[in-house]
Symmetry: C2
Subunit: 487 residues, 2 copies
Amino acid sequence: MQRDESLDPDDDGALRALAHRAVDDALDYLATLRDRPAWQPPPDDTATRFAQPLPRAPEGAEAAYADFVAHVMPYPMGNIHPRFWGWYMGTGTAFGALGDFLAAIVNPNMGGGNHVANHVELQVVDWCKDIVGMPRDTSGLLVSGGSMANFIGLAVARNATAAAHGIDVREAGVQGLAARTTYYASAEVHSCAQKALEQLGLGSRALRKVPVDASYRIDVRALAAMIAADRAEGIAPCCVIGNAGTINTGAIDDLSALADLCAREQLWFHVDGAIGAVAALSASQRPRLAGIERADSLALDLHKWLHVPFEAGCALVRDRAAHRAAFALMPDYLGLHARGLAAGSHWFSEYGLQLSRGFRALKVWLMFKEHGTDKLARLIDQNVAQAAALGAMIDAHPELERMAPIGLNIVCFRYVAADRPPAQLDALNEELLIRLHETGIAVPSYTKLGGRYCLRVAIANHRTRGEDLQIALDAIVTIGRELAATR
Amino acid sequence: MQRDESLDPDDDGALRALAHRAVDDALDYLATLRDRPAWQPPPDDTATRFAQPLPRAPEGAEAAYADFVAHVMPYPMGNIHPRFWGWYMGTGTAFGALGDFLAAIVNPNMGGGNHVANHVELQVVDWCKDIVGMPRDTSGLLVSGGSMANFIGLAVARNATAAAHGIDVREAGVQGLAARTTYYASAEVHSCAQKALEQLGLGSRALRKVPVDASYRIDVRALAAMIAADRAEGIAPCCVIGNAGTINTGAIDDLSALADLCAREQLWFHVDGAIGAVAALSASQRPRLAGIERADSLALDLHKWLHVPFEAGCALVRDRAAHRAAFALMPDYLGLHARGLAAGSHWFSEYGLQLSRGFRALKVWLMFKEHGTDKLARLIDQNVAQAAALGAMIDAHPELERMAPIGLNIVCFRYVAADRPPAQLDALNEELLIRLHETGIAVPSYTKLGGRYCLRVAIANHRTRGEDLQIALDAIVTIGRELAATR
């Protein structure tokens, strides 16, 4: 046999030099973010550049890296920029990125087994419980993000509720359920709830959307009435989903009232905290989240307002046995041993969909230790204060109209031209936002509230300074006036 | 307002120095892997060390990193070691890890939008199609791994089959299906198939396990008979899952025969290629996978035999419309724009469960370009040859018994002591494997075949050399003799 090959270099000197260069390039890149546009369109040749045949021959690490520097790095999504406030994303940090590098170097499979990385994840999950005030014996799992964390909570709700009626839904499927099963959430609930119920075989008809009040919070009396009406029709209410920060406006449902209602009605209480659960770190915000600690299951995100690089979310489930019962399978090739690597009392693969799992816990563990959570809380307070300041600036400006109460760190508004009918304002503001993106000055996103298009600034950004908001507002008003004058 | 804080250092000099040190530590760590045990047990104080309260105060990056170096790095799972062949994992590479670092630096959200990173993912997905010979207009998505890739294929199968009968299972749920739906796979199918069907609301009863032949390949005639019997009973067959490399023995089903049968019976043809699909890169292995290119959906893993660091899997679905129809949702806050960041014709979030998604495509793109896929194919051939050589060594050894035909790169065997009844051999081999782990010499895993415990060596490791197999076998025989003499 010829000499064995490997993917390791015979001499790692060149790769080492390249890695050092990449570190410098990366830190320079972050240090100069403010000098570059928040976003710029990809070059015209992008689609063809990335439509190459399978690279059978090697280019080498140098050439591959050069391609990245030349053609990928200059055209980011922009969420790392100080004036990016679109959708709802975190910003990332250099040390967090280093955490992902180190995780990939040691490269454990976090499905289970007896090795230290598993304890790092258990530690991080424990910290997530601490943040929201759930007890340490709560079950939990790091996942890709809020969508999967919500999926897990809603799946356990489905199975545990069926089990309470003697039905093994894992064996018999949803067809084994005696009655139609329903979940309740406000009309502002994130689309991932519908997606989860569709995948879980319950169907989108299982999601009953409850009206909201003027602050976009769930109408708890309407919810109670819907549950009663459904029961009267022979439908089986299963779960209430509370929002700890809605995607549109950051509204926080009355979680205590929902917890009370769920206790009274014997329903599973799930909280979607992807946006706002981590605000429980802040002493000033925590009272608004009262009741979150009473959730039966909770989804939260670490790659949003805690700025951990993608991906890092967390699912928490109060009833450990119910959590495990929804996902555990132990085939012959995974049976536990008394000692050795195949020992270990906690196999993460028994608590979610993944068997092979990456070491995403490491970046969270490193970042929490680096900064301390008090600082993360101060940055949450800072973003909340910035959103309030932006709201005040909007309220004081005759050409800007705020469209909703400010929930946490989310401000919805639009440019108004007094002589324009409301219908034209939708198109004007959409074009305004596109042009704002194209200037590279700032990246808000958008939504519709009451059918009206509006700009949406979600400040989950540790790099944003007070002056950034003024810069963005000035640009918005300038573009708005141009559009109002010409259209 | 006080001066704004951020997570960026005022002066990044200390962080930069730390990052350079981490790069050197990481490359030193990989260069000296052979000098360390493949695995060693975590220290006794591990559980308490990682049961700390929420770190409210900062420790700083230096201290956090020092903790990682002292307490995490020395106790890895071991899959990066040259003599790790447990379960089924890849090995990772330094440049792949650098890819994860760079991905976290630019930190895009790969849900969608108009930025270059999306094109990198589209490119990588195209390359995955090329590997298995599916056309470039196939739909695809990078996912966390094989479990999620299989979930996606089986979900699309459920929905598309229902849609062909006029049922919108996303709206109506599984209770809207007229008949019980069944999926077919060999008894050797990976447990993630059952897990997916349980989550999809079809129940484990929906998975019909088909007998295998002496080579652990699906018995296609028995499959046809089961389908006919189910149809006669009013059950609705939906999908056949073919194995392109089983987890236990690496067996490859007759994929052409399954494709023919699915065409004839109008069933969805899904292939679980998490283990073996990438072997299609190898000219010598490709004929064994004939028919894989006819799959309606296919799951493959890049973090296994292609050595990309965790996590990287890929789901491919031939019918793009069916794929999108299973997952697409477009709420108000995600509506597309004509230009700007919110443009872009391809939103990955419409093809899977995740909305926020990390840039896992980058490490794959960099590694493929670095090495070229011809080299990746040679390493696959090398592992297959190593498995065959190990099999020959086992067959030639009077105290070792091979337990199954060698599928691709997986060898199942056990130590036999002539005077022992078979029942004692299970316990003896389990203790043998534990002791082997504890020596740190090598890490096979184990399974049961025909009810009998056996050692299982799955060589998906670019660092393994021919001599590593001899070292491991010598240790196995030595430990086996010790156990046989004392028990």
